[in-house]
């Protein structure tokens, strides 16, 4: 469904069966990528640590299903899901995690810095809050160029308390820039509960301080996320400015792969994994309504497994990152510039 269709129906979105299946497959792909990443970490094939997105798949899938290739995103340390949903290649992502020359960043960046400038991924980011001003600058550039593309800025609950968030959201709202601030509230900043880090009950309420809409949705309901994001991006494209979209969710694992997350109550973890699994719940609903049968679900899972295996094999078979080339990568050695970015000859 296009955004125009949705709006012309007054906001009561009819979701086609195929769209649900697409969303389901996208979430399964993200989870399968993360499961293979975790295995690779445990086998010692990756460097550093990984911040896994398992449990939060509905947000990336729901927000990006309707985006254009020309739209931009900024991501976070927990970024694998965003990248896959925006269209990144799993093989090159795995290659980056394994430190290979064929990786997105040629082994220079790793999990926290994967970017694909050709499809609008302006980088995951290792500093909490840092992507927010960058997303605002990208949105500024889109308006400067007179384009109606948008920027989706992903960040976690902890970012909402940084100065970078405040400065950037204030600028975006004052200048009415085409950006959607997507807060993935997974309830913990590493080990600290959001209740002990912020007095607001809903983080979306912070929008009041910037005179922009604040919307809070169940971040584990992919259809609810999608609906809210379609509304927010439509506003942004029309020049009505940013929206703060809070998606409440939960990470199944610890903050990173070396963290067991034991600071969280067992019952809380069980509740989110068993009763609020975004993938399991969508499958259950679609089976209940007869939109899909178990055999079709099994096919999706088998195809995704093959896709992930193939992508991982590509990474394993790639050459390690090149030390000599690295030393030439600190500065960009530009060819002589004779044209500006509009293709006009420069004097």
């Amino acid at each position: 469904m296009s955004v125009t269709d949705y709006l012309s129906w007054g906001g009561s979105m009819q979701v086609r069966k195929q769209e649900k299946i697409d969303l389901y497959r996208l979430m399964v792909r993200i989870r399968a990528f993360e499961e293979q990443s975790f295995i690779s970490f445990n086998q010692g094939l990756t460097y550093g640590v990984l911040h896994l997105y398992i449990g939060e798949e509905a947000i990336a899938a729901g927000c990006m299903y309707d985006l254009r290739k020309e739209d931009y995103i900024t991501s976070t340390h927990r970024g694998h899901g965003h990248l896959i949903a925006k269209g990144a290649d799993m093989g090159r992502m795995f290659a980056e995690l394994l430190g290979k020359e064929t990786g997105y960043c040629r082994g220079r960046g790793g999990s926290m810095h994967i970017a694909d400038m050709t499809i609008g991924i302006l980088g995951a980011n290792g500093i909490v809050g840092a992507g927010v001003p960058i997303s605002v600058g990208a949105a500024f550039a889109l308006r400067y160029k007179g384009l109606d593309h948008v920027v989706l800025c992903f960040f976690g609950d902890a970012t909402i308390n940084t100065g970078a968030f405040h400065e950037a959201v204030n600028l975006a709202s004052t200048w009415k820039l085409p950006v959607v601030f997507v807060c993935e509230n997974n309830l913990y900043g590493i080990s600290v509960s959001i209740k002990n880090a912020c007095a607001l009950r809903s983080l979306a309420d912070r929008s009041a301080g910037y005179a922009i809409p604040g919307v809070c949705v169940d971040g584990n309901d992919v259809l609810a996320v999608r609906k809210a994001c379609i509304e927010a991006t439509a506003r942004a494209r029309k020049g009505e400015g940013p929206t703060l979209l809070e998606c409440q969710t939960y990470r199944w694992g610890g903050h990173f792969t070396a963290d067991d997350g034991k600071y969280r109550p067992d019952e809380e973890v069980r509740h989110w994994k068993e009763e609020r699994d975004p993938i399991g719940n969508l499958a259950r609903d679609m089976l209940g309504s007869g939109e899909i049968d178990q055999q079709e679900i099994d096919v999706i899972h088998r195809e995704v497994k093959e896709e992930v295996e193939k992508a991982f094999r590509y990474a394993q078979e790639s050459n390690p990152a090149d030390v000599d080339g690295m030393l030439r990568g600190v500065y960009y050695e530009s060819p002589t510039r004779t044209r500006n970015s509009k293709g006009e000859d420069l004097p």
Binding site: M117, G137, A168, G329, S334
Partner: protein, 323 residues
């Protein structure tokens, strides 16, 4: 040759580059209607209007971060941070984001971004508006650091910086804005990474940059009257550093004095001294001297701040001690 002030040279560089390329724009605190607190963007808002010159909130993190985002999407921002002292507010964006994006993304991201700022001791602006913080920025691979001393260099280097596809910290000096000098006619560029010998001499090499070039030239004239011929090397850019010119001069004179306004400990002069020892130790006839600010916050009262920073007499005195 025309004569122009350093401030006018900065404005002319911005005006020419904004005319040349529609993707060049200005953003910062008070750069628009007011023309900047040092009037270094005066008249540009009137010429280019609010679609090219943007007054921002007092939000240094957002200024630098948004400039980076705009650069990633194909624009060529010139972002102003009013005082170099305020770069500390935006240091995550400068050090962790702007400087590293090209490298971290394996070369995918290109960041054509100029951060214009100014530093140095003025007329009693005290500890948070008078510092020389270039060493912070030279310590971050990925940034280029440019510090011109004359109107001619300021114009040519600013134009080159705007055309460069790397992030640049362009540090002007608040006491240089009113200084005047000859400016070449037409569209000229000054290369980044090339020092300039502002005065030739055979007895000693004075290596310096920014406003201390003027103080060193004054010291060199004092010494000239005493029959001491000092060579004054204006580095113009600290990163990339024109080491060849430094080493060539030191090999010729056998003596090196490094002059900077920033406090001595951890200053960029220490880096230069170490490089001279590594590359030209056998040519030295005397120990390398560093004439630098005293390790103290910059004080408010004139007798106090004058005691902190180098001046022509202190520089000349140091040179005499080497001969």
């Amino acid at each position: 040759m025309r004569v122009m002030s350093y401030r006018e040279a900065v404005i002319e560089a911005l005006r020419e580059e904004m005319t040349r390329d529609g993707n060049v724009f200005l953003m910062g605190e008070d750069v628009g209607r007011m023309g900047g607190v040092f009037q270094a963007t005066a008249g540009l808002w009137e010429t280019f209007g609010p679609s090219r010159v943007f007054d921002t909130p007092i939000s240094e993190v957002a200024i630098v971060g948004a400039a980076l985002g705009a650069a990633l999407v194909g624009l060529r921002p010139v972002a102003e941070i009013m005082f170099v002292d305020f770069t500390g507010v935006a240091m995550d964006q400068i050090a962790n984001q702007v400087a590293k994006f090209h490298f971290m993304t394996g070369g995918q991201a290109i960041v054509p971004l100029v951060i214009r700022t100014q530093g140095g001791v003025g007329f009693g602006d005290a500890a948070q508006h008078s510092q020389s913080l270039e060493a912070w920025h030279t310590h971050i691979p990925g940034l280029k650091v440019v510090m011109p001393s004359t109107p001619s260099d300021a114009k040519g280097l600013l134009k080159t910086s705007i055309r460069d596809d790397n992030p640049i910290i362009f540090i002007e000096h608040k006491l240089l804005y009113q200084t005047e000098g000859p400016i070449p006619e037409g569209d000229y560029l000054v290369p980044i990474g090339k020092a300039d010998i502002k005065k030739e001499g055979k007895d000693v090499t004075i290596i310096t940059w920014s406003k201390m070039v003027l103080d060193s030239l004054e010291a060199a004239s004092l010494l000239e009257e005493e029959g001491i011929h000092a060579e004054v090397v204006d580095l113009r850019t600290l990163n990339p550093l024109d080491l060849d010119t430094i080493i060539f001069s030191v090999k010729k004179t056998g003596r090196a004095v490094i002059v900077h306004e920033a406090c001595k400990t951890g200053g960029f002069g220490a880096e230069i001294a170490a490089l001279i020892v590594e590359k030209a130790f056998d040519y030295l006839d005397a120990p390398i001297q560093r004439i630098a600010g005293i390790d103290t916050p910059i004080p408010y009262a004139a007798p106090l701040y004058r005691a902190v920073i180098p001046n022509p007499d202190k520089i000349a005195q140091a040179v005499r001690g080497l001969l």
